[in-house]
């Protein structure tokens, strides 16, 4: 066997206090299809950026065909025969489909500015060869008929195929595809898989990052699994799939001290009702007729793999995206056409993924901003100089937060931008709570945090429900979420695949497979569309 095409050796990357990659090594052999998987925040994108020249590693080396390519610029890496695509496909919208592919091949074909100014023989020959090549590459990905369409008008699936055609046009031997299947429906994914296999038959090597394990299982000959910046497994799909470390990485394993009791009794009156909500972004379906409820004082967990539609559901409830179909009601009141800010006043608070703190404001000011809506409603004077009952209520609410998260009290005057990840998350939750919401929505509160801190945050949640606040929790650490919540919904591919009391879901061994979506590897789609009913 010949030397590997790509060698990644002990690559480490640190972002401030976060070890994004920790001595990761693996090889890519010529002509194979290799999948790079791992839960959110595992370091896949970081690794991809290091390999493609967008990011410099702190340690380790990357070799392509034996030559070191770490330290080269992105265009230098591409010139050596390695092309990448991007998570969002990133088509050039101002151009036609054909022009996208031609632009991708231009540098490889030797287009130059001076030649272009003269527009004599050489430039015309380059243009003609680019045009011919673009037709070939578009035919490979099945977009031949859309060559003259504007790239922005393509559906999400077509845009991803265009990204593949562009990568082919750069003349690369190694294609690295970043989530090629994200947002595609089953038909489009099947077509994408055909295209990737066709590309491989042309003698190219393919590495792809993917969250849809069904697609991974179908395509990949080898799988490399990352978790928290560490390579935890590598091998053929059969081995990786049954590797306990891989299952643990996806489902989490936190042990929460505060167990929920008497969950069933709490489900009396539904506070939030979601009925048949569908959301799609420019042709890519994020939610498909999802229905769910959150009762008064209940903690409900929403679990599912990346791209399952969890954040889209939260955004639809918060009013950040308008659903194409379905209805959402809070306390019996229909929320359609109620703007996001007005929903906050009605008692919905969202602590968004990534926290979105005001880094240049102090901790106390960040908390106070969470109450802006109420202060403003009490009059302009209250915004300028809170006084009287409003000021007292504000102080009381902030004091509550300091009781909930004592660490924030110590840092009341500190700028939010200087907080650690865990403190920042506490502040984000606190800011959402200062408004005294009826429903608190948390998007990945433990994301990127050390287990101990994540535990501290999750353990604070039952105290809230004791105060009558309902919680809707989106969490990738499914085990932890199931321990802390009363009920849970499992989303797979934008649909509710399972629902029931958390304890029952946690105990069901079939849930692991459902959650991970492996069964998509078997081509019986009927099984997938039927929700798994869990006995209550």
């Amino acid at each position: 066997m010949s030397a590997p095409l790509l060698e990644v050796r002990d690559v480490s990357v640190r972002f401030g206090g976060l070890q994004a990659l920790d001595a990761v090594s693996f090889d890519v052999n010529r002509g194979e299809i290799l999948a790079l998987i791992g839960p959110n925040g595992a370091g896949k994108s970081t690794l991809l950026n290091v390999v493609s020249g967008a990011l410099r590693a702190n340690a380790g080396e990357v070799r392509f065909k034996g030559e070191r390519i770490d330290g080269l610029t992105a265009d230098g890496v591409n010139a050596r025969g390695l092309a990448r695509t991007f998570q969002g496909a990133e088509v050039l919208r101002a151009m036609t489909v054909r022009e996208n592919v031609m632009a991708a091949g231009a540098a490889h074909a030797g287009a130059s500015v001076v030649q272009g100014l003269a527009w004599l023989g050489p430039a015309r020959r380059v243009a003609a060869s680019l045009e011919a090549a673009s037709a070939t590459h578009l035919a490979t990905v099945g977009l031949g008929a859309l060559a003259e369409a504007s790239a922005g008008s393509l559906t999400a699936g077509q845009q991803r195929l265009l990204a593949v055609a562009r990568a082919l046009a750069t003349g690369a031997e190694l294609l690295i595809l970043d989530e090629p299947g994200a947002g595609l429906n089953a038909t489009e994914k099947a077509f994408l898989a055909d295209v990737i296999e066709r590309v491989r038959r042309q003698g190219r090597t393919v590495v792809f990052v993917e969250h849809d394990l069904g697609l991974v299982g179908r395509l990949a000959e080898r799988i490399v699994v990352l978790d928290h910046g560490v390579r935890i497994a590598a091998g053929p799909p059969r081995e990786v799939r049954s590797d306990p470390r891989v299952i643990e990485a996806y489902l989490g394993n936190a042990h929460i001290a505060v167990a929920r009791t008497g969950g069933a009794a709490r489900t009396a009156a539904p506070l939030l009702e979601v009925r048949g909500v569908s959301v799609s972004y420019g042709g890519s379906i994020a939610l498909d007729r999802v229905s769910m409820q959150v009762g008064e004082g209940e903690i409900v967990a929403l679990v599912g793999a990346n791209g399952a539609g969890k954040s889209s559901l939260l955004k639809a409830i918060a009013g950040a995206v308008e659903p194409q179909a379905g209805a959402i009601a809070l306390g019996g009141e229909e929320l359609r056409r109620v703007p996001a800010a007005a929903r906050v006043r009605r008692g919905l608070s969202l602590a968004p993924e990534g926290r979105a703190l005001f880094g240049s404001l102090s901790v106390r000011d960040n908390l106070a901003i969470g109450r802006f809506g109420r202060l403003r409603a009490a009059g302009l004077r209250q915004v300028l100089w809170p006084s009287g009952a409003e000021a007292a209520a504000l102080e009381a609410a902030i004091e509550d937060m300091f009781c909930l998260f004592p660490r924030l009290r110590e840092r009341a005057g500190q700028l939010a931008g200087t907080l650690s990840g865990g403190e920042g998350q506490m502040l984000a939750i606190g800011r959402a709570l200062v408004n005294r919401p009826r429903l608190l929505m948390l998007d990945e509160p433990s994301f990127g945090l050390a287990p101990q801190v994540a535990k501290e945050i999750l353990e604070a949640l039952p105290r809230l429900s004791g105060q009558g606040i309902s919680v809707l929790l989106v969490e990738q650490n499914a085990q932890a979420a199931l321990q802390i919540s009363d009920r849970a919904y499992v989303l797979v591919g934008g649909r509710v695949a399972a629902e029931g009391p958390s304890a029952a879901l946690a105990a069901d061994p079939a849930i692991g497979e459902t959650y991970l979506g492996w069964e998509g590897a078997a081509p019986d789609a009927a099984q997938r569309s039927a929700p798994v009913a869990v006995a209550t």
């Binding site: 493609s52 610029t73 591409n78 050039l92 091949g105 490889h108 500015v113 272009g116 430039a123």
Partner: protein
């Protein structure tokens, strides 16, 4: 080619109209069009802002004037040296500033424009300071001095049409595609093997070349230059010309230049307050006609037509 033929016909009509005023306006248009075209390549097609483009015009004008007057070089030779030198300087400035993006790039190019302007004011020994340089030897063709509107008209438009044709070539060539890729998304362009900064430097050099050519012809044609015309205000006016043309579009930018030249004639009674009108115009165009004034007219015309047709239709019912 049809457009070039139409342009030539219009120019011939102006040239033989016998109106010295029109010929003068046409010469001014050609000399402004050169830097505006370069700026359009940089801003419209490559997506890089420059608020100091007037500096390259100034550098071209001063370099050519000083070489011809102080060193006694043949004016043609001085012009060629000035253009080559400014092209190299533009490339070097590109090497400095294109590590910046967005607002920072705008600030850096603005600063560059101010520095060059201040230098022309303060380096009195070389540039004559505020008094400027006078008695710059004119260009000569077969013993004919190109010092009058009618005499410089063919040269100015030859340069301008040449610049238009070269720019059109560039846009249509594969290199033009790489420029548009860089304008839309540098990260993606780099993933195609395009080195974005190197490309930007080259386009900046072309812009410097065009601007210097306009400046140098201007210096020898007027015979007198001072720092005033090459200040930041001129950079903003160039920006306005390109914005009126919708940034990307060689011919629509030419329209933008004509529009600004004609408007500035109409604004003469306002004196120095004309800047206010330019500012308002720039804001209005950016908000309401982001694809340029011509496109704005087209959209408005279509909307009016539809309303008219709709009113007529409902009238019948």
């Amino acid at each position: 080619m049809k457009r070039v033929a139409a342009l030539l016909a219009a120019l011939a009509a102006v040239y033989f109209s016998g109106s010295g005023y029109l010929v003068n306006l046409a010469v001014v248009t050609a000399l402004f069009a050169l830097p505006a075209l370069g700026l359009s390549l940089l801003m419209g097609y490559t997506g890089q802002i420059s608020l100091g483009h007037a500096a390259f015009v100034g550098l071209g004008a001063y370099a050519s004037a000083i070489l011809a007057k102080t060193l006694g070089l043949d004016p043609w030779l001085a012009l060629v040296f000035a253009v080559v030198a400014t092209t190299a300087i533009a490339w070097g400035i590109g090497w400095l500033v294109f590590r910046l993006h967005g607002h920072h790039l705008a600030m850096a190019t603005l600063a560059f424009g101010i520095i060059v302007h201040v230098a022309t004011v303060e380096m009195k020994g070389l540039t004559g300071g505020q008094d400027g340089l006078s008695a710059i030897p004119p260009l000569r063709v077969l013993g004919l001095e190109l010092g009058t509107d009618l005499a410089v008209f063919p040269l100015a438009w030859l340069a301008c049409i040449g610049a238009i044709l070269l720019a059109e070539n560039l846009i249509r060539s594969p290199a033009g595609l790489t420029m548009r890729a860089v304008a839309e998304n540098e990260t993606v362009a780099a993933s195609f093997g395009i080195a974005p900064d190197a490309l930007k430097r080259r386009i900046m050099a072309i812009g410097g070349c065009y601007a210097a050519l306009g400046g140098a012809i201007y210096a020898h044609y007027l015979g007198y230059i001072s720092p005033g015309p090459f200040d930041v205000g001129f950079s903003i006016r160039l920006l306005l010309m390109v914005a009126l043309g919708g940034f990307a579009g060689i011919w629509s930018v030419l329209f933008g230049v004509v529009f600004v030249v004609v408007t500035s004639e109409l604004l003469k009674p306002l004196g120095r307050f004309d800047v206010i009108v330019y500012g308002v115009l720039l804001v209005v165009v950016m908000i309401y006609c982001p694809r340029g004034l011509l496109d704005g007219f087209r959209v408005a015309g279509r909307a009016l037509g539809r309303r008219f047709a709709g009113a007529a239709g409902s009238g019948r019912v």
